[in-house]
């Protein structure tokens, strides 16, 4: 989706505001939203791609205006309801629907140390042939899907070089919509800054993007 979240290459967003001695969370509610998201994720009712998409579909003015963890809170509410863990009526009332059988939480404190290193859970140990290899020249496809994608606008149609193959991962464009994992190879692809931004860019500079097979054509 050509949304506001796809902001690589935009200008005039202002200076980067660096806060000295920044706390991890700026308010207790932020930490609770963060933890609820991590804990409910253990139900595996959704995936990170789906979560990212809940934020991408926020209206652009909301996306820029509300804080990061407010985006998370709205995305969490959306997924909890859409994936059937709670109902909108329960969120409104704040109590479980009558007759609800209490579930057993999948994430308990003792499981957290083992769960954290495999939080993202996107790599797949399946045999899929790579379409490209390191050193190969490629062109990012010019696609404009209305759903989720991880191919930023600024790289579409641009020529690059495969730097390395990272193995097989789930494909976000389908995974975000619960339309299947479509596992395929992901590569780091080097794009010269001049290819992306024109002749005013420094000659040696570059941007590396991670690209799935379905984002690339041979060139």
């Amino acid at each position: 989706m050509n949304g506001i979240h796809d902001m690589g290459g935009m200008q005039d967003m202002g200076p980067v505001e660096h806060e000295k001695n920044e706390p991890v969370f700026h308010a207790p509610w932020e930490s609770r939203v963060f933890a609820m998201f991590a804990a409910t994720g253990a139900w595996r009712k959704w995936n990170l791609d789906a979560f990212r998409h809940t934020r991408e579909v926020l209206p652009p003015d909301d996306y820029l205006r509300v804080s990061y963890y407010e985006q998370w809170f709205s995305g969490l509410l959306d997924l909890l309801v859409r994936r059937g863990l709670v109902t909108a009526a329960e969120i409104e009332s704040g109590v479980p629907a009558p007759g609800t059988v209490k579930a057993t939480p999948p994430l308990t404190p003792d499981k957290i140390p083992a769960a954290l290193p495999n939080r993202i859970h996107a790599q797949r140990d399946v045999k899929v042939s790579p379409r490209f290899q390191a050193g190969q020249r490629v062109r990012a496809r010019n696609i404009n899907p209305v759903g989720h994608t991880r191919l930023p606008r600024y790289a579409r149609g641009k020529f690059g070089m495969v730097d390395r193959d990272h193995g097989v991962f789930v494909f976000p464009d389908t995974n975000a919509h619960f339309l299947g994992e479509k596992p395929q190879h992901v590569y780091s692809v080097r794009f010269a800054a001049r290819e992306l931004w024109g002749e005013q860019a420094p000659q040696k500079d570059s941007v590396y993007l991670d690209m799935w097979d379905d984002y690339l054509d041979p060139a």
């Binding site: 290459g9 963060f34 590396y208």
Partner: protein
């Protein structure tokens, strides 16, 4: 055309219930009022209400929430990454492993598992400077840096890092010579990047622990260099 936070979240809940298809679940309807009042206490209450509901339904364990918050507030942070960097500085064989297979090397410290989420380490030298960004959202190497600071997730950083990395670095006080090659890593997939910064001059006498104390979060994102120890200040 503005909405306040209460409208935003009320609409988010309502729309969440109405969104039936995976395509474009609109989380919100625009409302044309002109209130600018932020209602943080209201947000606090809404978050508390959701937590109570999730606990009552047995969807989350409150102790697990407390542990998660404590973990990211107090245990997992840039000190993890700093230890990895310092170890790579003093042990060339470890550095080679780290650059070849970060998961394997970081599993020595217990920060990552060999089979878990993937990480890549890129090395800054006198001729190459690497910078990490996620233009599309906020991907960041949690196991070694903890949760990202606000600036990393902000529109100014995400938008400009790829088109004007040298300008962004100047805002952080780093003016790179023209002959240094800048490589920006846009974290578009499920690989998390960490910069191995250059070991500063004048640190030959420091041990690994003292070196780790010099390594900052920002240097491991690539927006700054590691400063040499200040004269007269004990490391």
């Amino acid at each position: 055309m503005t909405t306040n936070r209460r409208d935003f979240l009320t609409a988010a809940v309502t729309a969440a219930g109405a969104a039936l298809t995976p395509e474009l679940p609109r989380a919100h309807e625009h409302q044309h009022d002109h209130e600018h009042q932020a209602v943080p206490s209201d947000l606090t209450l809404r978050v508390k209400a959701l937590e109570s509901l999730l606990v009552e339904k047995g969807l989350v364990d409150r102790a697990a929430l407390d542990t998660l918050v404590d973990t990211y507030e107090n245990k997992i942070g840039p000190r993890n990454g700093a230890r990895v960097v310092a170890h790579a500085w003093v042990d060339p064989a470890y550095k080679a492993r780290l650059l070849a297979d970060a998961n394997d090397a970081m599993s020595d410290f217990g920060y990552l598992s060999k089979q878990g989420d993937r990480m890549v380490v890129v090395e800054n030298t006198s001729t190459v400077h690497n910078l990490i960004v996620c233009t599309l959202c906020s991907c960041y190497p949690w196991p070694v840096l903890g949760l990202p600071p606000v600036w990393y997730k902000s529109a100014p950083y995400r938008s400009r890092s790829v088109i004007d990395p040298r300008g962004v670095l100047r805002e952080f006080g780093l003016d790179l010579p023209a002959d240094v090659e800048v490589r920006v890593w846009d974290s578009t997939a499920e690989l998390r990047y960490l910069v191995l910064p250059e070991r500063p001059a004048g640190t030959e006498h420091l041990n690994e622990e003292q070196l780790a104390a010099l390594v900052t979060r920002d240097s491991m994102v690539g927006v700054t260099k590691v400063a040499p120890p200040q004269a007269g200040v004990s490391s």
